[in-house]
Amino acid sequence: MKLELVDAKKWINLFVEKLEKNQTDLNELDTAIGDGDHGTNMKRGAEAITAAFEKKDPENLSDLYKATAFAMIQKVGGASGPLYGTAFLDMSKAVKTDNLELGDLLQIGTDGLKRRGESDTGMKTMIDVWQPVSDALKVNKFDQKVIDNALENVKNLVATKGRASYLEEKSKGHIDPGAQSSAYLFESLIEIMGA
């Protein structure tokens, strides 16, 4: 499947809503294995996205993803800023010439995360949600279960990237905050896909 502008807008707006609603939960996850600010960071990013869309309503997919990327890059203030920012920026570039299949598009975003984070799956980061979601979309098997499984998997991992990696074994048993915010992103996607 491919996303058209109107649905993609709904997607990002839903994501923004969830970030604003779940700020405290994200902070709590980050308190357990990080510095406790992921919710606050993403809330700042969410507000910046809304402000950017209000300032100039994106006219195409590329602009939409670019505005999302810039808001994240400029306002998040934590590692998730350049990470989400790079993912959306790479996606923005990719859709410029061609409205890609969603699985392929998200793979480009995932590759952006890997590049920016010098990381990969299995390190207990947001990548552990992005990658399975991209994979599932490529074979048209994407649903809530994919996200639930990814979060379940991430919970049991030992972190080897990001702040949580300093905790080594003790990072086990906690959901990675960036994985959770990414879960909100893709739950928003399910909602607009179902609609």
Binding site: G34, D35, G36, D37, R163, Y166, L167, E168, K170
Partner: protein, 122 residues
């Protein structure tokens, strides 16, 4: 055993900033600082270190410093006090961050020191 963290820096600003940075990841630890000279210039102050040790409520203290005179003053204090202070010859900011992160979740000293090993630069 709850460890406290002691930051000794040539600069009051660095000490203050390191405390703010690591407090985020370790809000439950006693983190005390000695930065700059008595007049808050660049340098170190035995009196400030003494005060920071007195104020630290950790059972034992993990201490981090930046350069030469911070180290020597810290060692001087260690000879004068009966508090147990572990001094680490590691990167100041990065070492204090990792130690605080681990101490916050009650990691044993062996684990903390194991993780600091790769940051030894002094």
């Amino acid at each position: 055993m709850k460890y406290g963290i002691l930051i000794v820096s040539h600069s009051a600003d660095i000490a203050k900033g390191v405390k703010a940075l690591i407090s985020q990841a370790a809000p439950d630890l006693s983190i005390t600082i000695a930065g700059g000279t008595d007049e808050n210039g660049i340098g170190s102050s035995l009196e400030k270190i003494q005060q920071a040790v007195d104020d630290n409520t950790g059972d034992e203290i993990l201490a981090f410093y930046d350069l030469g005179s911070s180290k020597m003053n810290l060692e001087m204090l260690m000879e004068m006090t009966d508090r147990t202070i572990h001094k680490y010859d590691v990167a100041l900011v990065e070492g204090a961050y990792i130690a605080a992160t681990l101490a916050e979740v009650d990691s044993p000293l062996a684990t903390i020191e194991d993780n600091l090993k790769s940051l030894k630069i002094k």
